[in-house]
């Protein structure tokens, strides 16, 4: 941007004001959430709105674990996200490498079919999947929540991202390794993967965020409270405790924290990743 031509103090001040206003609208819900999470039930209703509670009720955060199996939700979310991320990065990079670098027959056709499947609305396949999983006895287990994202649309997106990265690697590098007697898997594991680290990081963050926030699949496949993930557990909590906002908000704060930490650590790479692939989920 030609910031030099615009750089007038007045215009900068206006920009700051506007930006502050918009940022506030974006952030206020979080501040309100944090504030409510420490309140006594009766002080939620006070008027005028109280940003800083008179007394901080840390007990809300402890009570959450007693009211709902919150630690369970947490554990389920963490381990499902971990398995899905590992699975996606492994299988998608394997396929992405082949689609980028191994000239096999039918490569382009298969790749096109995979890509075109990305526009299938999830709701269409969810119905037969439910029956399929019921047939297998996998309803109310974590298997659908793990397998569907790795091999479904999420995995295809992963292939696409990884392929983009492998394509940029010069072929000479591979040919040299081949002459040295490396087989394909060694080339993939020893040469390609280290080069594709930025791609794997992007894919990891994307997949983690998607899985951490996934709602539709847990809603369909999970019935038992003990097996619920955070978004599903929290959404049910709104019904059951009704207006017990102080508990709901402390649970929500705890559910959001890991994601915000991950985001602040990986922020630049993530935003670059979004811009680079030019794709949304």
């Amino acid at each position: 941007m030609p910031s030099s031509s615009f750089r007038k103090t007045g215009s900068a001040l206006g920009t700051y004001l506007l930006l502050t206003l918009i940022s506030l609208i974006m952030i206020v819900p979080f501040i309100w959430m944090l504030s409510t999470s420490f309140k006594e039930p009766q002080s939620i209703f006070t008027y005028p709105p109280q940003w800083i509670p008179d007394t901080f009720r840390f007990q809300n955060y402890i009570d959450v674990f007693r009211l709902i199996p919150f630690h369970r939700f947490y554990f389920n979310s963490v381990y499902i996200a971990a398995v899905v991320v590992l699975g996606t990065v492994f299988f998608a990079s394997l396929a992405g490498y082949a689609f980028a670098k191994i000239p096999f027959k039918g490569r382009n056709v298969v790749f096109l079919i995979l890509l075109s499947a990305m526009m299938i609305p999830h709701e269409v396949t969810a119905i037969p999947m439910f029956l399929f999983m019921r047939q297998l006895g996998w309803i109310d287990t974590h298997l659908p929540l793990i397998l569907l994202p790795i091999f479904g649309a999420g995995g295809v997106f992963g292939i696409f991202v990884m392929r983009q990265f492998f394509i940029t690697v010069p072929t000479e590098l591979e040919e040299a390794a081949m002459i040295d007697g490396c087989n394909r898997f060694r080339i993939y594991a020893r040469i390609m993967l280290p080069i594709a680290k930025p791609g794997m990081a992007t894919l990891t963050i994307f997949t983690f965020v998607t899985i951490w926030n996934e709602f539709f699949d847990p809603l369909i496949f999970i019935n038992s409270r003990e097996l619920m993930t955070l978004p599903l557990g929290l959404s049910l909590f709104t019904d059951e405790v009704g207006t017990a906002w102080q508990y709901l908000m402390s649970a929500t704060v705890m559910a959001t924290l890991p994601l915000l930490i991950v985001f602040f650590l990986a922020q630049r790479r993530f935003i670059e990743g979004v811009a680079m692939t030019g794709l949304k989920e």
Binding site: T20, A95, V124, G155, N213, F215, L260, A275, G278
Partner: protein
């Protein structure tokens, strides 16, 4: 590239490439066939049946689709979906573009503002919706408390037939505007600086520069984000589920919510599948349209 392909085109290396290639892609292709292609086909078949939770299913041909066409609730949810999309897309695109223009300037502390705008994108839609449900709450909600300070008694936002959908739209725009903003920032930063310099020499003001340089150069991104946002809006579900459950009196019941209700609450899998296929056809048409129009904007891009 052609050279090396020719070299590996025959001989033992080529055989090795066939085997290795298929071996590498087989887990994904297998999983994909089983978990996407097969259910896709089955869903099509199911849409032609009466398929209850228990008991046998019955092939009924196009009956479900005929019923969809005469289902008053289908037209209602379709209208709601269009309302949501038509409300959300222009708001989202304009706000994202405005933000991108502001945030692609090199100002001190710009990263803080970018982060603030992007945090909702990262947050779970469910968490965001729960927090906004609290914001909209009639008595304890922040919005009505603030309104009360200037002497206005706020309405019951999510329990009012006319206000519930706009309320959900606003929440949804704020949730996702950061994503389009990032794409716009990337596009704006790719506009050659020389064009701006030329515009400045021509005496173009800020408005002129935007309409004659920036906007034409980023139309591909505008178009892409528009189509993607439309497709995303057609599939709105989570915020509806948390904030309104489709109410009050079905005023926020959207297509995917209806599909979910039919399939997983009422277990009318056949009918739900035909509804899902209707959604699929809408998405398919939009995607093909995007593909067709792509040529046009790619041409524009080279032309500019």
């Amino acid at each position: 590239m052609t050279h090396s392909r020719k070299r590996t085109g025959r001989g033992p290396l080529a055989r090795e490439a066939q085997i290795a290639g298929w071996l590498f892609v087989s887990p994904m292709v297998l999983g994909f066939t089983l978990l996407l292609l097969f259910p896709m086909g089955l869903a099509l078949y199911m849409s032609l049946t009466d398929w209850p939770l228990l008991g046998d299913h019955q092939f009924i041909g196009l009956e479900n689709y005929r019923n969809v066409m005469t289902d008053a609730m289908f037209w209602k949810v379709l209208a709601n979906t269009v309302y949501f999309t038509a409300g959300l897309v222009p708001l989202n695109i304009v706000l994202a573009l405005l933000l991108a223009l502001l945030l692609s300037r090199s100002l001190r502390g710009i990263g803080i503002f970018r982060t603030a705008t992007f945090v909702p994108v990262m947050t779970s839609l469910i968490v965001w919706s729960i927090v906004w449900k609290l914001m909209y709450a009639t008595e304890s909600g922040l919005i009505n408390q603030l309104l009360l300070m200037i002497g206005i008694k706020g309405p019951a936002w999510l329990y009012n037939q006319d206000l519930a959908m706009p309320a959900v739209i606003v929440t949804s725009v704020l949730k996702n505007v950061g994503l389009n903003m990032v794409l716009f920032i990337a596009a704006i930063q790719q506009v050659p600086r020389s064009l701006y310099e030329a515009a400045t020499l021509d005496g173009a003001g800020r408005k002129g520069t935007f309409f004659h340089v920036t906007l034409p150069m980023i139309t591909p991104t505008v178009f892409l984000t528009m189509v993607m946002t439309v497709i995303g809006s057609l599939k709105v579900f989570g915020q509806i589920y948390v904030m309104t459950q489709g109410g009050p009196s079905n005023s926020t019941k959207v297509l995917v919510y209806y599909i979910w209700e039919k399939a997983f609450k009422l277990f009318q899998f056949g009918y739900a599948s035909s509804l899902a296929y209707v959604l699929f056809f809408i998405v398919l048409i939009l995607t093909l349209l995007q593909w067709q129009l792509r040529k046009r904007w790619v041409f524009n891009e080279g032309d500019a």
